[in-house]
Symmetry: C2
Subunit: 95 residues, 2 copies
DNA sequence: TATAAATATCTATATATGTTAATACGATAT
DNA sequence: ATATCGTATTAACATATATAGATATTTATA
């Protein structure tokens, strides 16, 4: 497998992680260096706790988010602030 | 269904369209206002014609690409140049 | 009109992803 | 220690997507 192909696959994996309504909403929520707990996210977005946790773990595994645990709480945040730009960009492209 | 949710779904559909190695490669190929025929694309990327055509139609249907037919040839191009920025952005985010 | 070139579509199979609900785990406080 | 809160995992099922090969459609030209 060529290097170029590997890069394409990795990039598409990351995009695929973001390409979901709930996960897109999560990324938007975490713009500007915000950090939020699972509870805060599931309450803000009005989704089940298990659903939030599930999508957060997908975003974490695909390198979109990172976590810090503080006691009972897990605070998620964007690994690369730049990723929020993707959301802005794709929003501008909707006619 | 709320307006916000509809926007999220549309945005994620567009991202999902791009989130595939071959389709990402196609978008990269069409940066800077380039226009390419199906044949040129499948030869450049070393993929079957049917595969190229298939992915091009996905990108067209999801609003990523447009087509102009000129005689026998169909020339595809980015509907929003801005979309190429997404590729640049996601590439920069790979550690 | 017959043929070739360019592109699109279809079918079938495999694989991946999403959804929901239930349950388990880990940390804290009582 | 046990009850509770916050979070993660699992299982079961439905749906969507990818892949490959064969074939159809459209257009141009001999």
């Amino acid at each position: 497998m060529t290097n170029e192909l590997t890069k394409l696959i990795q990039a598409s994996e990351m995009l695929k992680a973001i390409a979901h309504p709930i996960r897109l909403a999560i990324v938007q929520l975490l713009e500007n260096d915000k950090r939020m707990s699972v509870t805060a996210i599931h309450e803000t977005l009005n989704i089940e706790q298990a659903v939030a946790s599930h999508h957060l773990s997908i975003l974490k595994n695909k390198g979109v988010l990172s976590v810090d645990r503080e006691g009972k709480h897990c605070f998620y945040f964007l690994k690369h602030q730049r990723l929020a730009e993707i959301v802005v960009c794709v929003n501008k492209c909707q006619e």
